[in-house]
Amino acid sequence: MQEKFSFASGYRSRTIFRVCNIVFFILLSLVMLVPILKVISDSFDAKAGYALTLIPTQFTADAYKQVFTDKELLNPLLISIFTTAVGTALCLFLTTTSAYVLLQTDMPGHKILTWLFFITMIFSGGMVPGYLLIKNLHLMNTLWSCILPPAISVSNIILMKSFFESLPQSLMEAAAIDGCTPFGIFIKIVLPLSKPALASIGLFIGVQYWNQFFNFVMYITNNDLFNFQVKLRDIVLNSTDLQNSNASDTALMSRTVQNACVIVSMIPPLIAYPFCQKYFTTGVTLGAVKE
């Protein structure tokens, strides 16, 4: 629908509205972007934070060099990469297998299984019993405490299940007639056909693991096992002298390095973002917009 763009009478008020609307969204976009741009600029600025500008006054990339060479920062980065890689692989495996099994309505015990997953959506034991469990399993200060509990994600299983349901059933019927076992159908037909879903749900899971933070706060007290998010919070808040009680003995990082850390921890989710953009609406509206 292409509207006439004209200030002639009859079109005037509509055109004024459209111009104002565009200007409004440009301003809104600036509000969204300026905080991020300021951090990017400051991460390259040796005199970070002392100028009212979005362009570095004294350009330097040393802060990024420090992030990738200083053991204090590189180690948390590697921990983040490790937990994200292992966690995503595990979670994706559990999500696809559970989603496929939950589709087998004829399987004895199907109802019980469904309820087993369903109940966890409406009731949870809460923070303290979860913490005591990890403690009693002697998983404190191991990365498993941050990899295993989030690996079971019922909402992702539901999302995956609805993708499987949307696959053309005739293909599976044909395979079954050809003598393919149910397991073979899963490996040879369902998985290859759901590559887009695997990719996008995998990215969602990956972002969750990368951004994971509170499990590390609860279960990890060993400085060497902090991931990058915890480290980031540590160095930014440490500099503000607010939370010295639970800050580690990290040396104060310069303002430039703090900004660089923000950018480094922001990059992986933002790289993942365009790849799963196609599925935003599906993911968000699943079960919420009336068909």
Binding site: N21, Y100, G125, E173, P182, F214
Partner: protein
């Protein structure tokens, strides 16, 4: 789903009748399911059983000792718990209200942009903050609002004002909390309304404009009723999780603003994990979980009434 079942029947000819035969047929599926069920039981069901600690006195120094409902009696008279409950409701509900208001408004406005490319560029930019973790968001705003060289304070000083440490001021913390939540969530919140708006038939608008209805009238009589179901569903979905507000508060709060920023979950963290009063904090958690469960079941029924199917 019926089709999948039917598939198996085509393959095997008839559906096996004895239970044993059916179990045998699905043997690999049980194997497939084993790791997920094991983790589910360990990490979800064992903590559920752990709520029995709510009826005990249990600290880091003494083993659990059964005391019945005493923890809950203490809870009702606990001023810091009541204050946390109050803060939870205020922060959550204001957040919800502001978030929905602005998301709906922006969705209506962005829907008036008819050039696809322009619209998708704006959408892409508005969605970005959703992908930034809460820790990073908090860090960005701590840096920008910092009294020493933060962008905002430099502006204030440049305009002749006095530098303020916003994040430790009880007066400023709450409005800043709402603003940061809007910054992060408003774009993402629009998605569902944009999807609903695209479902409204063009014919309705054409008919209305033939009848002489102006743009505002069309918005009021066609667009808003058209997305009313979605608005209600989003509203009750969020009401179900009104007590769960946590991450955003946890990363933005500090000891100086606890009066206005302590919510139930952060209170549980403080009492349970930092002060090791496991019994009492489990009771607080159980109180929260039970109310949340009731809210979810109520909203599920409400959703069923509105759109014919539940959220669960």
């Amino acid at each position: 789903m019926q089709n999948t079942a039917a598939t198996k029947e085509i393959k095997t000819g008839v559906r096996p009748h004895t239970l044993a035969a059916r179990i045998y047929k699905y043997r690999y599926f049980y194997l497939m399911m084993l790791p997920a069920v094991a983790l589910l039981i360990i990490f979800k069901y064992v903590p559920m059983a752990g709520v029995s600690l709510a009826f005990t006195k249990y600290t880091a120094f003494a083993p659990p000792k059964f005391i019945g409902w005493d923890n809950f009696k203490e809870l009702i008279g606990d001023a810091s718990f009541l204050s946390a409950l109050k803060n939870t409701l205020i922060l959550s509900l204001v957040n919800l209200f502001l978030g929905m208001l602005f998301s709906i408004g922006f969705a209506l406005l962005i829907n008036e942009i008819h050039r696809k490319l322009v619209k998708s560029v704006f959408q892409t930019i508005l969605y970005i903050p959703h992908f930034i973790s809460w820790v990073v968001t908090a860090s960005i705003f701590y840096l920008i609002l910092s009294p020493s060289g933060g962008l905002i304070n430099q502006l204030i000083v440049g305009l002749g004002g006095k530098s303020t440490y916003f994040m430790i001021s009880e007066k400023w913390w709450t409005p800043i909390f709402y603003l940061i939540n809007l910054w992060k969530g408003v774009g993402w919140g629009m998605i569902i309304y944009i999807a609903a708006l695209s479902g409204i038939s063009d014919e309705l608008y054409e008919a209305a404009s033939i009848d002489g209805a102006g743009r505002l009238k069309q918005t009021w009589y066609i667009t808003l009723p058209g997305i009313m179901n979605t608005i209600l569903v989003v509203l009750i979905l969020h009401l179900a999780s009104v007590l769960n507000i946590f991450q955003s508060v946890f990363v933005l709060q500090n000891d100086l603003v606890l009066n206005v920023s302590e919510v139930i979950e952060t209170y549980i963290y403080r009492v349970g994990l930092l002060q090791s009063d496991y019994g009492y904090s489990t009771a607080v958690g159980l109180f929260k979980s039970v109310i949340s469960m009731i809210l979810i079941l109520i909203t599920n029924n409400a959703c069923k009434k509105i759109k014919g199917e539940g959220i669960l």
